[in-house]
C-alpha cells in the first residue's frame, strides 16, 4: 500500500497510539498543575500572584524541546534510569499546566465582579462564593479555549522526538530512514495528526460561537 508494507503502516499507528497516550498524560497532568496556578494567578495575595506568574513566564519563555531535555537529564542525575515517557510526560505537564493556568485565570477573571458582590450580599463565605457562583460560570467560559489548547497539546507532543520518545513523529522518522519515501511517510503522519486535531479545532470554534450567542 502506497509503497509501504502493512507492518510499516501499523508501526506508524502504534506511534500514533503513544502520541495519544502522551497527550492524555499532558492534559491530565496539566489540569492538576493548571488549576492551582489559575487559582493563585487570580488570588488576592500578591505573593501568590507573583510566584505563579513567574512560573508561567518561565515555562512560556523556554522552548518545549529544551524543557524536555532539562527534565530528561534532570531526573537522570538522581541516578534514575527514566523511560522517555516519564520525562516527556513531566515536560508536557509543566508546559500544559502553565498555559492552562493562564487560560483558566482569564476565565475566572472574566466572570463579572457583580457576581462576587451578589454572592457576598447572600452571605456566602468566600469559598462558597467561589465554588457555587464563580466556578460554574467560569467553567462555561473555559470550555472553548481548553478544547482549543488540546490541539496544541497533541501537536506539541511531537517535540518529544528530541528525547527519542516513540510517538508518531518518531515512528515516521524511523520509517522514512528505512524506506526513504518522505512524501508518503510524512503525509500519512500529517494526516493522522490532522485527523486527531481537526475535529477538536472544529469543536472548539463551535463551542465558542455557542458561547457568544449566549
Amino acid at each position: 500500500m502506497l509503497g509501504l508494507t502493512i507492518e510499516q503502516i501499523a508501526y506508524l499507528f502504534r506511534g500514533a497510539g503513544w502520541t495519544i497516550v502522551l497527550s492524555l498524560l499532558g492534559f491530565v497532568g496539566g489540569t492538576l498543575l493548571g488549576l492551582p496556578i489559575a487559582l493563585a494567578r487570580s488570588a488576592h495575595s500578591k505573593l501568590a500572584r507573583a510566584l505563579s506568574g513567574a512560573l508561567v513566564q518561565l515555562v512560556q519563555g523556554i522552548p518545549l524541546p529544551v524543557i524536555m531535555f532539562v527534565v530528561y537529564f534532570g531526573i537522570s542525575i538522581g541516578g534514575f534510569d527514566v523511560p522517555a515517557l516519564v520525562a516527556a510526560g513531566v515536560a508536557m505537564t509543566l508546559y500544559a499546566g502553565a498555559y492552562l493556568g493562564e487560560i483558566w485565570k482569564g476565565c475566572i477573571l472574566a466572570v463579572p465582579r457583580t457576581q462576587w458582590e451578589a454572592g457576598e450580599c447572600l452571605a456566602l463565605t468566600s469559598t462558597q462564593r467561589f465554588i457555587f457562583v464563580i466556578l460554574p460560570q467560569a467553567l462555561r467560559i473555559a470550555v472553548p479555549p481548553t478544547v482549543g489548547f488540546l490541539v496544541q497539546i497533541v501537536k506539541n507532543t511531537s517535540y518529544s522526538v528530541v528525547i527519542n520518545f516513540f510517538d508518531l513523529t518518531y515512528s515516521a522518522k524511523v520509517i522514512n530512514n528505512s524506506t526513504f519515501k518522505p512524501f508518503t511517510v510524512f503525509t500519512i503522519a500529517a494526516l493522522i495528526y490532522f485527523a486527531i486535531c481537526f475535529p477538536m479545532s472544529l469543536l472548539a470554534s463551535r463551542f465558542e460561537r455557542r458561547l457568544h450567542r449566549g
Binding site: 518561565l58 519563555g61 523556554i62 522552548p63 518545549l64 524541546p65 529544551v66 524543557i67 531535555f69 532539562v70 530528561y72 537529564f73 534532570g74 537522570s76 542525575i77 538522581g78 541516578g79 490541539v151 501537536k155 506539541n156 511531537s158 517535540y159 522526538v161 528530541v162 513523529t169 515516521a172 522518522k173 522514512n176 526513504f180 519515501k181 518522505p182 512524501f183 510524512f186 503525509t187 503522519a189 500529517a190 495528526y193 490532522f194 486535531c197 481537526f198 479545532s201
Partner: protein, 227 residues
C-alpha cells in the same frame, strides 16, 4: 543524592554557544517579514478573494494549524532531498517557518481586518480611494495596529519553535547544546544554561518588537493608547 554541578564547559564552548544564538536569531529574523507578508496576503485572499482563493486559503491554514511544525519540516527537508533539490538546513528551516507562521498570521490578520469599523471603509470610498488603495493605506495599518500584541506573541513562539531545527541538522542553539552535552556529559547543566538563554532572547525579541510598534505607529506614540 550528591550531584556536583559543573559549568566549566561554558569557557570552552562559549564561541559555539554564540554561533548557535546567532543562527537562532538569524532564522527568526529571516522568517518574520516573509511570514507576515504571506499571512497578510492569505487574510486578504480569505476575506476579499474569489471563492477558489478562499477555499485554498482555508485548506492551507487549517492544514498547517492542525499538524505539528516538525512534521512539516521533515516533509519539506527530506522531500526536497528526494526530489534532488540541494538545499541547506538553514534555508529549509526558514522556508518551513515562513509557511508555518504564515498560517497563524493569516488568522490573526483576518481578525484584525474584521475588527475595523465599516465606517472607515466607507470614508475611504467617499475620499475616492480605490478598494486597493483603501486596503493598503486605510485597512492594513489599522488591522496591524489592532492585532499587534497577538503578532508579537506569535513571533516569539516561532522563535522558540526554531529549537526543533536541529532535527534537520541546522546548528541552532539547541543543536549546539546537544553537541556540547555529548562531549561533556553535562546534559542537565547545558540545558539549564540554554533555557536561560532562550528566556533572555524571548524577552529581548518581545521588547524589540514592541519598540518597533512605538516607532511605526505614530498615532499610538502621540496618544499613548491602543487603537
Amino acid at each position: 543524592m550528591s550531584y556536583e554541578f559543573d559549568f566549566s564547559f561554558l569557557d570552552e564552548y562559549l564561541p559555539d554557544l554564540w554561533h548557535g544564538i546567532w543562527l537562532t536569531l538569524g532564522m527568526t529574523t529571516a522568517s518574520i517579514l516573509p511570514g507576515f507578508a504571506l499571512g497578510t496576503l492569505c487574510a486578504v485572499g480569505r476575506l476579499y478573494g474569489p471563492p477558489w482563493v478562499r477555499r485554498a486559503v482555508v485548506i492551507y491554514v487549517e492544514g498547517i494549524r492542525n499538524t505539528p511544525l516538525i512534521i512539516q519540516v521533515f516533509w519539506l527537508f527530506f522531500g526536497l532531498a528526494v526530489l534532488q533539490v540541494r538545499i541547506g538546513p538553514f534555508p529549509a528551516a526558514v522556508i518551513a517557518l515562513v509557511i508555518n507562521v504564515g498560517a497563524y498570521t493569516a488568522e490573526i490578520m483576518r481578525a484584525g481586518f474584521m475588527s475595523i469599523p465599516k465606517g472607515q471603509i466607507e470614508a475611504a470610498s467617499c475620499l475616492a480611494l480605490k478598494p486597493s488603495q483603501a486596503l493598503w493605506s486605510v485597512q492594513l495599518p489599522q488591522a496591524v495596529e489592532r492585532v499587534y500584541p497577538a503578532l508579537v506573541s506569535q513571533f516569539v513562539l516561532m522563535m522558540l519553535a526554531t529549537s526543533i531545527m536541529s532535527q534537520i541538522s541546522a546548528e541552532e542553539l539547541t543543536g549546539v547544546a546537544y553537541m556540547i552535552q555529548s562531549f561533556t556529559f553535562r546534559g542537565f547543566e547545558v540545558y539549564l544554561v540554554i533555557a536561560v538563554i532562550y528566556l533572555v532572547m524571548a524577552s529581548l525579541l518581545r521588547l524589540t518588537l514592541l519598540g518597533v510598534a512605538q516607532v511605526s505607529f505614530p498615532r499610538r506614540r502621540r496618544l499613548g493608547t491602543p487603537l
